[in-house]
Structures are given as structure tokens and as C-alpha cells.
């Protein structure tokens, strides 16, 4: 592999990473938890599925719908994914039955929902996403701490890092990289990924004005593919051969971890999150068969296999059985 030289403050930390952890695990090693039940067909399911929400989950929803429609050829899906912030209004206006969101609803959004319906929306975690920090495939950097990430992306550095990091030299690379400015890519503010990254990696600080905001997760990855000095964040499902997902460390002492299933479930990787489906469920009232069966499908072996196909991480069996009870699918 490529030789990597580091600055003193970074040295110990990087060596730990290199010694302890190998490359980021590829998608093919992930398997669905065998404890998750397989989906079986029932009768009496028909109608339209309307979904409005997250862009990160856009393809996931499409895959689920394609799979669900194989069981019920009479079900049709219409999916819109312009960002998580579009989900709550659509649920409130009842223009959709499902609101895929890549973050939790904010209390403001929950209040708005409650004001109209009289009860809170129900959130169902469907899968796990590791938000990866991508760099160009030729970038030798291996690992960054959250403080460093904050110093790269944020202008007010609320995570308490030292000075601003504006060049790859400041981020620990040597040689030709030393003087090269970092070119930062991000998402637009309607995106749940934007909000999540701001909260978790920037400690709710503000993004730098120089962040190039992209209209989609895939656009971030493509930008970095073309830009040698680029860095950006997107779901792990968007990885391509042109970029590298680097390891992250909560703090320098805790060491670096890549965005693999074990690291995310074990809470070692700092940017793991659930991907939610929000629904409008009246308390103490059963869901209609269409929504119930769709959720059962998502929380089944087949549904979770699709999660892997799209590059995300499946739920553990214990969580699945808990959720199945929540939606009323014993």
C-alpha cells in the first residue's frame, strides 16, 4: 500500500488505526440476521403506496416497492425523494402514507403533526446507515477524528478542535499534499444527511461558506471522484470505485473505525444512524392491511436483504421483533 507520513500530533493515532483495523469491510460480507422471519404472502392487500421524503432512502423505497409488488402485483407505488424535510408536510397533508426520513423528526415537525392529527407520528427504524466521509481514491488519508472533521467542515468548530483545517497538510498529509487546499462537498439543507452531519460531526456548528452544496448524495460522491482534493459526506450506499470511505474516530484515544456493520451496531463508528419510515398511526387502532403488510415486508428477511443490496446495513433480529410488535405484526 501507499506510504503515509503524518504530523506528530497525528502519528500515534494513525499507527493505531493501521495496526488494529484493516480496510473497510465490503458490502458483500454483510448478511441478514438469521433470526429475522421471512415474509409470507397474505390476501386482501391492494392499493397505492405513496411515499414522500428522504433522498438517501429514495432507492431503498423503490427497491422495497419493486419487491413488495412481486408479492402483490396489485399494489402500486409512487415514490418521491427530495429530502427528509419534505416528509412531515406530506404526512400532515396526507399526501403520502409513508415518510422515509434519514433523521428523526424535529420537535417542531412533531408538534406540527400533532396539531393537525392530535397524536404523534410513529417512527419505524428500517435499516442502518453509516454516514461515510469520502475522499478521492488517490487520497492517502486513512483516518480523521471528529474534531478534525469539524475543523474541515465547520466555520465555528463547536466540537472544540484547535484551528481551522484548510489544507490537506493541516489534516496530516505530507509531501505534495501539504499545501493543497481541501475542497469540501456537502448536501443541500433540505437533506436529512445535512442535518445529521451538522448535529453529529459539527456538534451543531455551522458549515463553512465554501462547502459546495450538492443536490443529491450521488452528486457528492461524483464530485469527489473528479476532485483530487475533495472531501464530503454521504451514505455508505453511495460508495463507488472512485472514492474511499475513510475511518473515523470519536476521539483520538478511542481509535479509528471504518463504517462496517459491526462498528456501527457496536457504536464504535461515530456516524451510524437509523433510516426511518414515519407513518400516521392512530394510537390503539390497527393499521390498514396495505401499510401493515408493507412494514412487515420491510421488517422481514427479504426486506432486509434489499437493504444490503442498496448498500446499507440491516437491522439486528432483536430490534426487528421489537418493531414488528410495535406496528402490530406479531
Amino acid at each position: 500500500m501507499k506510504y503515509l507520513s503524518v504530523k506528530s500530533s497525528f502519528a500515534l493515532f494513525a499507527i493505531v488505526c493501521v495496526l488494529a483495523f484493516g480496510q473497510v469491510a465490503g458490502a458483500q460480507t454483510v448478511k441478514v440476521d438469521p433470526g429475522i422471519p421471512s415474509y409470507t404472502k397474505v390476501t386482501g392487500v391492494s392499493g397505492n403506496i405513496n411515499s414522500v421524503g428522504s433522498d438517501t432512502m429514495n432507492n431503498l423505497m423503490t427497491f422495497w416497492c419493486e419487491g413488495f409488488a412481486k408479492f402483490y402485483p396489485n399494489v402500486k407505488c409512487q415514490i418521491e425523494g427530495k429530502g427528509s424535510s419534505t416528509a412531515p408536510p406530506a404526512l400532515i397533508e396526507a399526501t403520502s402514507q409513508f415518510g422515509p426520513m434519514s433523521r428523526m423528526m424535529k420537535s417542531k415537525e412533531v408538534d406540527a403533526f400533532e396539531k393537525v392529527t392530535g397524536y404523534k407520528p410513529t417512527a419505524i427504524p428500517t435499516s442502518i446507515d453509516a454516514l461515510a466521509v469520502y475522499v478521492n481514491k488517490d487520497n492517502p488519508i486513512r483516518c480523521l477524528s471528529i474534531k478534525q472533521v469539524d475543523a474541515i467542515f465547520s466555520k465555528n468548530r463547536k466540537c472544540g478542535g484547535g484551528g481551522d483545517i484548510g489544507t490537506w497538510g493541516a489534516a496530516g498529509l505530507a509531501g505534495d499534499w501539504n499545501g493543497k487546499p481541501i475542497s469540501v462537498y456537502g448536501r443541500n439543507s433540505a437533506s436529512g444527511t445535512y442535518g445529521y452531519f451538522k448535529k453529529k460531526a459539527l456538534c451543531k456548528g455551522d458549515y463553512k461558506d465554501t462547502v459546495k452544496e450538492q443536490p443529491g448524495s450521488s452528486a457528492v460522491v461524483q464530485g469527489i471522484t473528479e476532485d483530487l482534493q475533495g472531501i464530503g459526506y454521504s451514505g455508505i450506499g453511495y460508495k463507488t470505485s472512485g472514492v474511499k470511505a475513510i475511518e473515523l474516530a470519536k476521539t483520538v484515544e478511542k481509535g479509528c473505525f471504518g463504517p462496517s456493520l459491526d462498528n456501527v451496531v457496536g457504536k464504535k463508528y461515530p456516524l451510524g444512524r437509523y433510516l426511518f419510515l414515519y407513518i400516521n398511526k392512530k394510537p390503539n387502532e390497527a393499521l390498514d392491511p396495505l401499510r401493515l403488510e408493507f412494514l412487515k415486508y420491510v421488517l422481514s428477511k427479504q426486506g432486509q436483504e434489499i437493504v444490503i443490496k442498496d448498500g446499507y446495513l440491516p437491522l439486528p433480529a432483536a430490534k426487528v421483533s421489537e418493531l414488528r410488535a410495535l406496528v402490530g405484526a406479531s
Partner: protein, 539 residues
């Protein structure tokens, strides 16, 4: 001294130069799109890349660049290659960069097979064995590949049958059940207690459900048939994979194909791209629904925008008293043409979707609530929004046309005793028709390329049903639809498999341009005919 240039000649030259630059730019753009898009469907040879570390990959060459060292410096002589290695289920990614220094050998085995699959992208490997009706045909058999091809063809026939049942029979059943269900719901919502009616609806639903059971059994049988035969493949690294034939779209051996064969294959694939439905969250398969949606939307828009635009222009030019008011209106119309399209989109959402759509739902589709029928984006609202967007273009063009009708023709008509309306209808409008159609051509060109307002008024990533089908009233204006422009955006910026989707982006862009050209040429041909027809009468 004689003048070398006639006065004003320089300006002619500058105009000519500007025109040339424009043409070169258009040509360059088309060339780029065509090469990047059209080239991607060519079945390129597949090489076996054995690496120094013992691993090997079967891949199609996608690109080559200079290696960049650890310090970010470009090497001067070392290259690396980008391969499409397929087998996403095995490797995790479809593409791989390999340093040429690491490659031990490359050869092009004639029996390397590419399988295009319904899921997980392409599979690159070698045929190990075929399990046909319990009988095993080893991959070494010279007939094995043609057996595989026949089996894939059979499987595709079964797929076509399945599709027919799903879209035809089951589509009918669903439509029927949904209608009866809504009637039932309507009964209970109105608080009517009519057991006879209720029983009637329920009986109908039961009948439909019985029909559904039959089709379902039929489908199950077909699916079983799809999965009966299997093919065992082995990858370049030696990993084996068993696949039911129902999962395979097509099988081919690019290294074993001559140029003519490849060309034939190319045409077949291109047709598939135009005529098939998308698969795998739009990253594979065809784009037929998007083409259909785009054309239909433009047609609906034209039907709406023409009468409104023409009537408005007629009033402004022929009937209204020319004064301050008319001038203000005219300025407003011209300004409207310059309003950003997204503003129209927002207006469409607020006025059409939530306003009119909400009212329609609460009056006519009460039973379906809270699921909106017209209260959500749909092809009608998208077309109307675009009609608003393009109406200024039509008004301006029509006014120009009306203004150019000579005064003596009108006076002649009036002198012969025609009323003002008759003159307008029979004399003025026919003479102005070519100009009106020019307006329409401009409107179509603008509308076809517009994406932003559509994104919020009814275009979706994947709409399972076309807005036209066999159920009364055949044209379903409330349905959401797919659109080529949005498809480009979606594939380009949102697709999870960005590398695999890239050629699709260029292909889709190519088709969009093609459609704009076709729509425009049609309108131009009609205009020219009209011009000829009225050229004689106008003089």
C-alpha cells in the same frame, strides 16, 4: 484608395462568426452526448486480468489513466485501468481500478459469458453447468451455450406472460375492487344504511377476489416455471454461483461475436432501452415510461395552452381598446415569460394541487380520503403548470402573427358584409396560423426541457402505471408520471450506483433531445403546409 470593406460588412462577418460558434457548440454537445451514451451499449470484449497477487477478474475496459503516487504526484509512465467487473453480489462494487504494474497477464477467453440479470447488475464468468429439467449439461459441452440462450429466451417469454397477467387481468381486478371499496366507503361515510347495496358491492368484490385467486395461482405456476431451471456459473476467481434462469435477462459472449453479430446485438439492446420498463431503481432496463410521460405531458400542455394563448392574443389585438390598460397587460405578459420556472411550479403546487385539487377531492373523491386523488401531484397539474409557463410565448407569437395580417384583407372581408367575428375567424386566424404554430413550437421546446416545476407538481422517480391504460376513462389525469428530464437528474445525482448509471444519463439526454427535435419537426412540417395553403389567399 479603394475601400476593402463595404460599410457594414464587418457586422455581417461578426454575425456569421457568432452563428458558427453556436453551431459548433451545438454539434459538440450532441457529439459528446451521442458518443458517451451510444457507445456504452456496444458489447465490448471482456478480458481476464490475472493479477500478481493471484486474484483474477473478468472485466470490460472502461478507462485508463496515470497512476498517482502516495504524495499526490502523477506518475509519468505508470498507468492504471478501470474495469467493469460486474458481480456486485460478489465484489460489492461493479467497477475496479487496477494498476497495470499489478497485472500479470491479460487474455480474452472466447467462452467468457456476460449475463445481464434482473437484480444485482451483470454477472461476468464462465458457464459451469446447466440444470435443465433435472438433467445436467456440463459447461464444456459445445452445445451448452446455445442451450443457455434458448432457456433465457424461454424465460423471457414467461416474463412477458407474467407481465401481461399482472398488467392486464390483475390490473382490471384491482381497478374493480378499488371502485367497489370506495363505493362501500362512500355508503358508510354518508351514513346510509342500505344493506342491499352493501351486499351488492361486497358480492362484486368477492367475485373479483375469486378471479384474483385464479390469476394468482397462474402467476405462481409461472414463477415456479421460471425458477425450475438453473445455471451454475463460476467467476474468474473460481467462486461458484447458482442462478435460476428466471433472473437472467440475456446471455452473451462478447469475445465470440463478430462485428455483424455485435451490431445486431447493439440494435436489440438499443430497442430494449427505448421500449422496456426500468429495473433496479431505474439504474438498469429501459426508459419507456419516461418517454411516454414526457410526450403525453407536452401534448396535454399544447391542448391547453393553444386556445388560451390564442384567445388572449385575439382579444388584446382585435377587440380590446388600445390604451394604457392593454399596454400594461402586454408588458405583464412579456414579463411573465421571464419569471423563473420554479416560481410557476410553486404556484402550481399552491393553486392546483392544494387549492383546486383539494376541492375536487373533497367534493368528488371523498371516499378515497385521506389518500389524495387530485390533491397531489399528477400529469394534469404538471401540464397545466407548464401551460401557464408557456402561455406568454404563445400570446406574443400570436399577436405578432395577427399584426402582420394586412389591413386591406380585413377591410375587404368587412366590405363584403362579414361581421367582425366572421372576419377574425375565417380570414385573420387562418392567415396568422403559421405564426401561431411558431408560438406552439417555441412553447413545446421550452416545456420539454423544463424540469424544476415538474419536480413538485407530479413527476416521480418511478411511476408503475402509465397515465393511459385500458380502464375507463382511459386517460388518468391524476396519475403521477415519469419524465426524461427528471430521469436525467435522478440518475445523475441520486443514483446509488453512480458509475453504472452514467451511460444511462447520456443515453437519456440523447433521447430527450431527439424527442424535442421530433416534436419540433412535426410542428414545422404542419406550419409549412399551412403557409403554402394560405400564401396564395393572403396575397
Amino acid at each position: 484608395m479603394p475601400k476593402l470593406w463595404k460599410p457594414g460588412d464587418a457586422y455581417v462577418w461578426i454575425s456569421g462568426l457568432a452563428l458558427m460558434v453556436t453551431l459548433v457548440m451545438i454539434g459538440g454537445l450532441l457529439f459528446l452526448i451521442a458518443t458517451k451514451g451510444l457507445g456504452s451499449m456496444w458489447p465490448a470484449d471482456i478480458g481476464r486480468y490475472a493479477l500478481a497477487d493471484g486474484s483474477s477478474y473478468l472485466g470490460q475496459l472502461q478507462g485508463r489513466e496515470l497512476v498517482r503516487g502516495a504524495h499526490g504526484v502523477k506518475s509519468e509512465s505508470e498507468f492504471r485501468v478501470k474495469l467493469k467487473i460486474g458481480n456486485r453480489d460478489l465484489y460489492g462494487l461493479d467497477f475496479k481500478w487496477i494498476d497495470e504494474a499489478d497485472i500479470a497477464s491479460i487474455d480474452y477467453p472466447r467462452d467468457a459469458v456476460i449475463l445481464e440479470r434482473h437484480e444485482w447488475g451483470n454477472y461476468h464468468g464462465f458457464l459451469k453447468e446447466i440444470r435443465k429439467n433435472g438433467q445436467i449439461i456440463p459447461g464444456g459441452d459445445p452445445q451448452a451455450f446455445s442451450v443457455l440462450k434458448d432457456l433465457v429466451r424461454d424465460a423471457n417469454k414467461i416474463h412477458a406472460k407474467i407481465l401481461k397477467i399482472e398488467k392486464g387481468e390483475i390490473g382490471d381486478i384491482n381497478y374493480g375492487i378499488e371502485k367497489q371499496r370506495l363505493k362501500l366507503r362512500g355508503l358508510s361515510m354518508r351514513g346510509e344504511d342500505d344493506p342491499a347495496k352493501e351486499a351488492k358491492y361486497r358480492l362484486k368484490i368477492e367475485k373479483y377476489e375469486a378471479r384474483y385467486k385464479i390469476s394468482e395461482a397462474e402467476l405462481e405456476q409461472l414463477y415456479a416455471e421460471l425458477n425450475r431451471n438453473e445455471v451454475v456459473m463460476s467467476s474468474a476467481g473460481g467462486d461458484e454461483k447458482v442462478m435460476p434462469l428466471g433472473k437472467i435477462v440475456m446471455a452473451f459472449r462478447p469475445n465470440d461475436m463478430g462485428f455483424a453479430q455485435k451490431a445486431g446485438f447493439y440494435v436489440e439492446r438499443f430497442w430494449g432501452f427505448i421500449a422496456d420498463e426500468p429495473r433496479e431503481a431505474n439504474t438498469e432496463g429501459g426508459i419507456f415510461p419516461a418517454i411516454f410521460g414526457t410526450v403525453l405531458m407536452v401534448l396535454i400542455m399544447s391542448i391547453v395552452v393553444m386556445p388560451f394563448g390564442v384567445i388572449a392574443a385575439l382579444y388584446l389585438r382585435e377587440y380590446a381598446k388600445q390604451g394604457l390598460m392593454v399596454r400594461i397587460v402586454r408588458i405583464c405578459v412579456n414579463n411573465l415569460a421571464g419569471v423563473p420556472s420554479i416560481v410557476f411550479g410553486v404556484f402550481g403546487v399552491g393553486f392546483f394541487l392544494y387549492g383546486i385539487g383539494g376541492i375536487i377531492d373533497s367534493v368528488f373523491f371523498k371516499e378515497a380520503l385521506p389518500n389524495p386523488t387530485f390533491g397531489t401531484g399528477g400529469i394534469l397539474w404538471a401540464s397545466l403548470t407548464l401551460a401557464l409557463l408557456t402561455v406568454p410565448v404563445v400570446i406574443v407569437a400570436t399577436e405578432e402573427g395577427l399584426a402582420s395580417v394586412p389591413r386591406n384583407i380585413r377591410e375587404g372581408s368587412l366590405a363584403l358584409g362579414a361581421t367582425k367575428f366572421e372576419t377574425t375567424w375565417k380570414v385573420v386566424i387562418p392567415s396568422a396560423l403559421p405564426a401561431i404554430l411558431t408560438g406552439l413550437i417555441l412553447a413545446i421546446a421550452r416545456a420539454t426541457g423544463e424540469v424544476a416545476p415538474l419536480m413538485i407538481t407530479g413527476v416521480v422517480k418511478l411511476a408503475p402505471d402509465l397515465p393511459i391504460d385500458g380502464h375507463f376513462p382511459f386517460l388518468h389525469l391524476e396519475r403521477k408520471f415519469m419524465h426524461l428530464g427528471f430521469h436525467i437528474y435522478d440518475l445523475g445525482f441520486q443514483s446509488p450506483n453512480a458509475e453504472a448509471a452514467k451511460p444511462m444519463v447520456f443515453m437519456t439526454a440523447f433521447l430527450l433531445i431527439l424527442i424535442v427535435v421530433i416534436l419540433n419537426i412535426t410542428a414545422i412540417i404542419i406550419r409549412n403546409r399551412l403557409r403554402k395553403k394560405y400564401a396564395t389567399s393572403a396575397v
